[in-house]
């Protein structure tokens, strides 16, 4: 019996239980006792008891049986010899598994040939492609594995259905005017809500653990010191199985590229964003604000890939040609450069800075503003001497949040910053960033366990740690600041 069918039957049992439960509750309400819960809560309680335990069991059973099956295949495989045709035991097991899956596609009464060479065309006719190093001895094992799987599936289905019906009966027996069905249902709902809110934690744990494991694996082949303090980035491409060529994985050129570009971006975004926020909050008439604010939000809604393409297709060549005209010959700005990438990223960050600082500036109490203006200060003096100093901690937090966005930004730098890992101080040359290298190392056909691929996770965890610290400090400052004036 397939899992889908079992699921459908369980759902059907749940629906039937719902209606019976509700019906029973209605029938028992003869007006003599005031019922505790409304009738449909009895129905829902019956539904939940019929469905939830059964689903839980089915899930656990499926996981358990796939583990059991794997062990079973493992035990059935012949002892490995040194000249085994297949590279590893894990590969052996996975070959048998895909063979077993393929055999299911065949008609039930097909006579199975004993050798793989004869079997392959039969399977190919059904559209099943198998690896060529599948061995003859695997066929009987696969047949047996299928039989075991069928048996396990049947037992699981029967137990699930029995549990479902039992749950429904248990709930239906409980239906009584004073039974607290609503409280039961609501308690389960509360658990559901709690489970949903833990997903945020699970995601963080998932991020940290997944990257940590790969990073530890990476540090098996490359020492942490040469990663964190290395000044040369030259990973070399390792073809599958060659293993010999060892690249150099120095973080320093990537980190300095990342920080340099982020710095240029902040140099653009902070003054412009801050000044527009100040103007919008203190000077602009409501009419101007109602036009300009959505327009700036529009700037924030444009995907970063569009900025990246603008940088590489339009702005980069334009700046290169411009610099060629200025010097009257060879251009001093390269097509892909720190300057171009930083400039475009800065523009992308303008709305981020301005909306964050807008909130902060408007949070400065009216009384401070009025006091300063009442003493005869001009508006700009009030802003420069009173409002900005008062808002400073919040603005620093906003800048930190923006910087963390700049460091983690990917598509603009992938397109506009270049891929060469240089160490240079000239903003008109190309430099590369951590995010660019993560993308570079993971797109393409690389062997998954080579350091060339694993280094992406080490870079990722560095990036995560960097932004995490900045975010937490920034959020802390912003929160503290808000409390100060509330």
């Amino acid at each position: 019996m397939s899992s889908m069918l079992v699921l459908a039957i369980v759902a059907a049992i749940g629906v039937v239980a719902f209606f019976i439960g509700r019906q029973r509750a209605v029938a028992q309400d003869n007006g003599s006792v005031k019922p505790h819960s409304r009738a449909h809560y009895h129905g829902w309680w019956a539904f939940l008891l019929a469905v939830l335990p059964a689903l839980l069991l089915l899930a656990v059973w499926n996981i358990g049986s796939s583990v059991y099956l794997e062990r079973h295949i493992h035990a059935a495989l012949p002892e490995r010899t040194a000249d085994s045709a297949v590279a590893s035991e894990a590969l052996d097991v996975s070959l048998v598994k895909s063979l077993a899956r393929g055999l299911r596609q065949l008609d039930a009464n097909t006579q199975l040939p004993a050798s793989f060479a004869e079997l392959q065309p039969l399977l190919a006719a059904k559209g099943v492609a198998l690896a060529t190093d599948t061995q003859d001895y695997m066929i009987p094992i696969a047949v047996e594995a299928n039989a075991v799987q069928d048996r396990l599936g049947l037992i699981g289905a029967v137990v699930t259905l029995v549990l479902s019906i039992a749950g429904a009966f248990y709930a239906l027996r409980q239906v009584a005017p004073r039974a607290r069905a609503r409280n039961n249902v609501e308690r389960l709902m509360l658990w559901g809500l709690l489970a949903a809110s833990t997903i945020a934690i699970l995601t963080t744990v998932g991020i940290v653990l997944s990257m940590l494991f790969q990073t530890i694996q990476f540090f098996d082949s490359v020492s942490p010191a040469s990663f964190f303090f290395g000044t040369v980035w030259d990973p070399r491409f390792a073809a599958a199985g060659s293993g010999g060529s060892q690249g150099q994985f120095g973080l320093i050129p990537l980190l300095s590229g990342t920080l340099y570009i982020a710095f240029v971006a902040l140099l653009v975004a902070v003054p412009v964003g801050l000044m527009s926020a100040v103007y919008m909050a203190e000077y602009a008439s409501p009419k101007v604000r109602s036009v300009v604010k959505p327009a700036l939000e529009l700037l924030a809604g444009i995907p970063t890939i569009v900025y990246g393409i603008f940088a590489v297709v339009t702005l980069g060549p334009f700046l290169r040609d411009l610099s060629a005209v200025l010097t009257g010959g060879s251009p001093f700005i390269q097509g892909q450069s720190i300057f171009t990438a930083g400039l475009v990223m800065g523009v992308m960050l303008i709305p981020v800075v301005s909306s964050l600082s807008d909130d902060i500036i408007t949070a400065v109490p009216r009384a401070m503003r009025d006091g300063s203006l009442g003493l005869g200060a001009t508006r700009s003096e009030t802003i420069k001497r009173v409002i900005l100093p008062a808002a400073l901690p919040g603005i620093v937090g906003a800048i930190l949040l923006t910087a963390s966005r700049a460091i983690g930004e990917t598509m603009i730098v992938v397109l506009a910053a270049g891929v060469a890992a240089n160490l240079t101080a000239n903003p008109f040359e190309a430099m590369t960033t951590i995010t660019v290298k993560i993308v570079n190392q993971l797109t393409g056909d690389l062997e998954f366990n080579s350091p060339q691929t694993l280094v992406a996770f080490a870079l990722g965890i560095t990036l995560f740690a960097l932004t995490l610290v900045m975010n937490i400090v920034a959020l802390y400052i912003v929160r503290k600041y808000r409390e100060q004036y509330e």
């Binding site: 000077y283 700037l299 900025y307 393409i309």
Partner: protein
Amino acid sequence: MTDIPLDTMVRAAAPARRDIGLKARYAAERRFRIYGVLAISVGLAFLAIMLITIVSKGYTAFWQTTVTLPINFDEKIIDPSNKRATDPDVLIKANYPKLADKALMAKLGIDPSNKPMALKLKGFLSEGARVQLRDIVVADPSVIGTTRNVDILAAANLDSAFKGQIDLNVEEARRKVSDQQIAWMNQLKADGTMAEHFNKGLFTYGASSRPETSGMGVAIIGSFYMMVIVLLLALPIGVAASIYLEEFAKKNRFTDLIEVNINNLAAVPSIVFGLLGLAVFINFLGMPRSAAFVGGLVLTLMTLPTIIIATRAALAAVPPSIRSAALGLGASKMQMVFQHILPLAAPGILTGTIIGLARALGETAPLLLIGMVAFVADYPKTPFDPATALPVQIYMWANEAERAFVERMSGAIIILLVFLMAMNITAIVLRRRFERRW
């Protein structure tokens, strides 16, 4: 106060005008204002320049040049040995480009035996003609032996030339279209055989190595699947989590931890979610690479914090009087939340969800890591089949060198921006219409 002489008071009321630098201060005030206006203008000017350059590069992508030719589906070329009844492969492998070339030569009045001239025709029609004619014949084999008008795509270079994008002053050897081909093009243009049509293919074709037959069909379907998955997962989970945190959670270490987590996840670089997807969904759980399903899961995790933050704000905005009223009438806390608070907060939740979806639709970096940069020519039938996404398709076209791809890329950006703008405007309108201030 009483013993101050009157004349001193008068004098104090009208002091001599001292120079307190008012002129300089007002000048500083004006300068400051100008800085503000400049800052805003810089942002808006950049927005304008970006949109103008993209639209001016991309609007031509919505038109495509085709050549209308009377194709004679000659049995001698398609099926010379008359085996199609027994061997269906014959119809698939037949030499269809020859049909198109013959029709074109007849139209231009070129003698087919004139080899040098015939050679110059190479690269005039798209290679896609093969597929186009094959599909016609396979769908309806009775067409063999008849003549029928078919709109055949011109090759990308001819398309560019037709749209006037190729500089004809460059010497012939250095451009991709020969003078002879230009002459033919003008001849066909004059008699109306060659014309621009609306480019349906841009929306329906999958990946292709030839610009004229490549389109965003696969990417649109992939993005659609992902948006559906994000909506189905992120909305219920996000709303449930917000309800718990806003209405039920007691203030303790655990809820503090969840809160810090959500705020931090909202600021984690998107590429990190891609690494998570690669390590957990693909390597650990063995899900297929390049599948829209995995993309949807990754984008769900990325969108969740946005939705949770928006939903919590919407829930918190519902005034306490409504809570008290519901509880006072005997509703349980759960009934109060689901029957009173949630409906009142729905517009805010919806707005936050749409904005989150718009962000997810434009996101590229995490999708690159889970293998969605793939050459997918066929439509994905389920979310588990290989697919691409709109922004990833744009990225892939950005890496192609040919100018026709740049045109398509800009066209794709226009479409993506139209989608995003429609979503954002919907969100703004919803907010304006349903927003209630208590």
